[in-house]
């Protein structure tokens, strides 16, 4: 199980190419809006005309488009931290600063919910598929399909009302208690953050785990009919070995690529959940940016999203080739 150099290089080239295309699109799309961003900024901050003129020169908006593009590449790629412009709403806070504050919250929420839901979904689906046609299988399949059909935000509101308002088990909103003054990463703080993340996380798990469960279930239900699965049973192998080494190892391949796709999807999907629970992550930031026409922040978030999705898919390809020895130079 080794990754060949050729495969690695090819995948890396694809990832870089995709990234570049994303960069170009992020550059083009806001320019199609035909509104001068400095006008909006000037209007929102009530700058005098002299400052506006100064800003236009400073942002390079008086330059031709290709110079602007070069400037954009230089700001995004060659500057560290990347210069993603200034927020109109929170001027002079930079977009980078806003994202850097919000991103860890979302990564924490999305990362843990993707991990939990992939794990739960995969094993539930594995078992249902292995016992295909049984009562257990039908229960799992039908309830997964039902849960899958419920919109994220609706589940979020339902859970919020049920577990925070009616039963008061979890906090209604926020990522930590405002009253809590213990320093970041102290045990009390960590516990408080985990406690606040429970409801949004459960919401995301309940909404995404069924996808893994259904896919895994169908994979395994097909696999069980394969000759080598019959042979494994004829060999008198222990059940957990048949389940793990034979059914899971073969059935998990498509799930890996879905985890990667979902990583991007969940960052977007987490948006609504974050808004419902007032979670200070990328989703809430994006929501406010859209409401306030805060284009630099929107662009910056798209930039981060593009990187997340591309990286997730890149790693999925690598993991894929580790799990399935048949994949080499594709």
């Amino acid at each position: 199980m080794r990754i060949s150099g050729k495969y690695l290089i090819r995948r890396s080239i694809y990832a870089v190419l995709t990234f570049f295309i994303a960069l170009v699109m992020i550059f083009i799309i806001p320019r199609l809006v035909a509104v001068n961003p400095v006008d909006i900024l000037a209007a929102s901050q009530q700058f005098p005309p002299s400052v506006t003129k100064q800003l236009i020169i400073q942002f390079g908006l008086n330059q031709p488009v290709y110079v602007q593009f070069a400037l954009y590449l230089k700001n995004v790629l060659l500057t560290f931290p990347p210069n993603l412009g200034y927020s109109y709403e929170y001027y002079p806070t930079s977009t980078y600063q806003l994202i850097a504050t919000a991103l860890p919250w979302t990564l924490f929420l999305v990362g843990s919910s993707v991990a939990v839901s992939a794990l739960v979904g995969t094993f539930v689906g594995l078992y249902a598929g292995y016992r295909r046609g049984s009562m257990l299988d039908r229960t799992i399949t039908y309830s997964s399909m039902t849960l899958r059909a419920l919109p994220y935000f609706w589940v979020a509101i339902l859970f919020q009302i049920l577990f925070a308002v009616v039963f008061r088990i979890f906090p209604v909103a926020g990522a930590y208690s405002i009253l809590d003054t213990s320093p970041a990463f102290s045990p009390e703080w960590t516990l408080d953050v985990a406690y606040h993340s429970m409801l949004p996380m459960i919401t995301l798990v309940v909404s995404t785990a069924p996808v893994y469960a259904i896919i895994m279930r169908n994979n395994v239900a097909d696999l069980v009919r394969e000759d080598f699965m019959n042979v494994a049973e004829s060999k008198g192998l222990k059940k957990q070995r048949i389940l793990i080494s034979y059914a899971l190892r073969n059935g998990i391949l498509p799930v890996i690529s879905i985890i990667a796709v979902n990583f991007g999807y969940v960052v977007g999907g987490a948006l609504l959940v974050e808004i419902v629970f007032g979670y200070p992550g990328i989703g809430t930031l994006l929501f406010n940016a859209i409401l306030g026409h805060d284009y630099p922040v929107i662009e910056g978030i798209f930039y981060i999203l593009a990187i997340t999705v591309i990286l997730a898919n890149y790693f999925a390809d690598l993991i894929y080739s580790l799990v399935d020895p048949r994949i080499r130079y594709t």
Binding site: E226, D227, F228, N230, V231, A232, E233, S234, K235, G236, L237, K238, R241, S245, Y246, R249, N250, V323, D324, P325, R326
Partner: protein
């Protein structure tokens, strides 16, 4: 291994399909029994039954006595321990018998680990030894199935089947999917392994020339029933049942190249709701009214050679 009155039935929309219809067989320790017949006559189903691999809604009736135990009354865990340790199987089509994402050496080791107290390392050592026994290069142990040829995969499957030195090995068309050259090599290998005399083998094939090479005894099956059984020499040299003769005549040999090969006219009927008569009657050139009306009797010929026919060879002119 003592099989008596074994039937396997599958419900279907058109009625009950009787894949195996009350057969009785016994295999002597250390011998090779060949099971021959056309496609769909119940050879593989018989083999799978001996591992209790017939899944519901399939129904198995009768008795399978193996080393003093009744196979049909084993509990789940007993059955798991019984499989492969007592009876193993070389499956039809080695191509699909192996797990595509696991190295073949560790697939052999899996069965060793789940049936003995051996550690992973010891089991892999045994795998290496088995791979040597089936005459594959030592580095094959680290190969994945897709990196091996058909013949090599078949060798791995054989290594897997002999890993636990089971009392009975079922070889279900082990060479059918291979080209002629690998076929010959695999047969030689199987013969070597069998000739030790410690293993009993049930060899399933539609190819009489393969069975002639491998077997001590041959049973001919037609539509779920055994129609003739006896020593390889007796059955092939002086067949008593018209179906056996027809099977032999349809075999192509170098000598028969210049004459036409006789195929058996027609197809076997679908085994749904069959009447009790001679199953071969509607394709048999010698059939008389009694063949269509009632089940033929067992005719004992010399040396335990038996046939189920109203007109065994004397009367049909052979």
């Amino acid at each position: 291994m003592e099989i008596s009155n074994l039937s396997v039935k599958f419900p279907s929309l058109k009625g009950e399909v009787t894949a195996v219809d009350g057969i009785s067989l016994s295999i002597d320790q250390g011998k090779v029994l060949g099971l021959a017949g056309e496609s769909g006559c119940g050879k593989t189903t018989t083999g799978l039954t001996l591992l209790r691999m017939i899944r519901p809604p399939g129904v198995v009736e009768g008795d399978i006595e193996f080393a003093g135990r009744n196979l049909l009354s084993l509990s789940d865990e007993e059955l798991r321990r019984f499989r492969w340790k007592e009876v193993s199987m070389i499956f039809q089509g080695a191509m699909n018998s192996l797990n595509p994402v696991k190295m073949v050496g560790s697939q052999i080791a899996d069965s060793i680990m789940d049936h003995t107290k051996k550690t992973r390392l010891e089991a892999l050592k045994m795998s290496a030894e088995l791979i040597r026994r089936v005459r594959l290069p030592p580095d094959s142990i680290h190969k994945y199935p897709h990196q091996l040829s058909g013949g090599q995969k078949q060798r791995i499957v054989i290594a897997m089947a002999i890993a636990l030195q089971p009392k009975l090995i079922i070889a279900d068309e082990p060479t059918t999917a291979l080209d002629v050259v690998s076929q010959e090599r695999i047969l030689d290998l199987l013969k070597d392994i069998v000739s030790g005399g410690s293993s009993t083998v049930l060899f399933i094939s539609h190819d009489l020339s393969v069975l002639a090479k491998m077997c001590d005894t041959i049973a001919i099956m037609y539509l779920g029933k055994i129609v003739e059984m006896g020593s390889t020499r007796d059955v092939l040299a002086s067949p008593a049942h018209p179906y056996t003769s027809a099977l032999i005549d349809s075999n192509i040999t170098i000598e028969s190249m210049n004459s036409t090969v006789e195929s058996i006219k027609g197809y076997p009927p679908v085994p749904i709701n069959l009447p009790t008569n001679c199953r071969f009657s509607d394709r048999c050139p010698f059939a008389t009214q009694e063949c269509f009306d009632s089940e033929p009797p067992q005719v004992d010929l010399k040396n335990g050679h038996v046939a189920f026919c109203y007109h065994p060879r004397k009367e049909n002119g052979r």
